[in-house]
Amino acid sequence: MKIIEWGVLIVNYLFLGGLSAGLFFVSAIATFLYKLDEPSPYTRIARLGALMAPWPVMIGCLLLIFDLGRWYHFYKLFLHLRLVSPMSIGSWLLVLFNLVALVNCYAWLTERQRNDLFAKLPRRLAFLGKFNYDIDHWRRRLAFAGMPISVGVGIYTGVLLGAVQSRPFWNTNLVAQLFLFSALSTGCAALILGLAGREQPVQEMKLLYGFDICFMVLEFFIVLPYLIHGQLSVQAVQDSLKLILGGPFTILFWVFFLGLGLLTPLVIELRELVPVVVSNREFHYNRILAATTALLILGGGFLLRYIFVYAGQMSAMQ
């Protein structure tokens, strides 16, 4: 029988869902970091995050739907809510998140952007023009409401796998945490990448690096106990870990995910940020370095999901 049922579509979906969750979460935090009346560099983070957040998860959802055996039956997912099924919860969560993220995105549009958008509506849909409301004042409320949902989506991508008892590689709550922090760090990374093109986003970068370092440190300290715990667990789990400790995914895991996708960007960011914080030096913003770091993190996040989805399915109880 076929071993790998969930393939690259699901990997992408998990990655994109996490990415959106991260984008939204960081954006939402940024929303609270400035006084409403004052111009702040953090507005740029909040705005960019809000504008970017809905799209990856939407693409991810489309991928998810196309991965179904009968994609045209996907609506059946929404005829039920089964609280014992991570996928059922997840489907609803995704809908909710998509809605909030979209509204939030809308809320962060400038007046001109809104007008442009509605002006572009085809004539038949012109009646939608009456929805051209200014909802800027919802931003914080949306951020507040959306934060737990985005965290939920970030966790859910891990719970989806972690809840499967029959796959020893997955069956630990650490997977959900790992996926959450990976999601948040990829959100940060996407923002770093998004801002890299702007003029001297120094303040923004300091904040994002700071967040990112937190997320990656947490991620690292989840990977560590995951491995240790697994090695001290029952034979089935030990065997499943062989997939990354001397199995088909070893190089991918250690070199590309852990080395290039997690530790390298962590070191780079630390090197950039620590002197600023500790010695109060000036922050040398290096655009290329920032973009590279971001790409490495994004690559690492993708690989993490790839490794987990594939290795997990290959692992089995004796």
């Binding site: 029988m1 076929k2 049922e5 969930w6 991965d67 179904l68 055996g69 009968r70 039956h73 996907f74 059946k76 997912l77 005829l79 039920h80 089964r82 014992v84 099924s85 991570p86 996928m87 059922s88 997840g90 489907s91 989806l160 809840a163 499967v164 008892q165 029959s166 796959r167 029952v234 089935a236 997990g312 399915q313 089995a316 109880m317 004796q318």
Partner: protein
């Protein structure tokens, strides 16, 4: 969970199994399963060095668990647990996400590419409703499988389980499998 009025289960007396594959073909015909898939399958094991050898065979299929992981993870409820203990997939509700396949510790399910749904052994519920045994049970030449109601103390199945030692596969999965292998 409330007691079930019936609890269908299966006993496998692997010592009698001669690996003749009748069950596999019978199921294929009965359930119109395309050649690429099979609901039941045979486990074969040969060990030893000439001429000290042993061989063992045992059929396996969906274990119709008491706490089926597949049912738990199913997002639409297409996979569900009947009151008589049989786990079935309602094709109409299945969206083909294959989460159940990933969740099943026995790999007892397969994805029908042609239909876009997941399929597995259902103890031939349509035959049970006609009063017939599951196709694999009925056809077995050496009568390896014994099918019956666990809650009926007079059934051959209950009798075997009270007389003989048995084991279930992967009990640590915690799914409460209902195929009992006699020792």
């Amino acid at each position: 969970m409330a007691a079930r009025p019936k609890r269908y289960a299966m006993v496998v007396d692997s010592k009698k199994c001669i690996n003749c594959k009748a069950c596999v073909v019978a199921c294929r015909a009965e359930n119109s399963v395309p050649l690429a898939y099979s609901r039941p399958w045979m486990n074969e094991e040969t060990r030893g060095v000439w001429p000290k050898l042993m061989a063992a065979f045992a059929p396996e299929q969906c274990h119709q668990c008491d706490h089926p992981a597949c049912v738990r993870v199913c997002p639409t409820g297409a996979s569900h647990h009947r009151p008589d203990g049989i786990v079935v997939v309602n094709e109409a509700e299945c969206v083909g996400c294959r989460y159940c396949m990933i969740a099943c510790p026995y790999d007892a399910r397969f994805f029908r590419e042609d239909k876009g749904v997941v399929e597995k052994c259902d103890f031939c519920v349509h035959r049970l409703e006609r009063g017939q045994l599951p196709a694999c049970v009925e056809t077995c030449p050496s009568k390896v499988r014994v099918f019956g109601d666990l809650n009926d103390p007079k059934s051959k199945l209950a009798e075997l389980l009270s007389d003989r030692q048995y084991r279930v596969k992967k009990p640590e999965a915690g799914t409460g499998p209902q195929i009992y292998y006699l020792i």
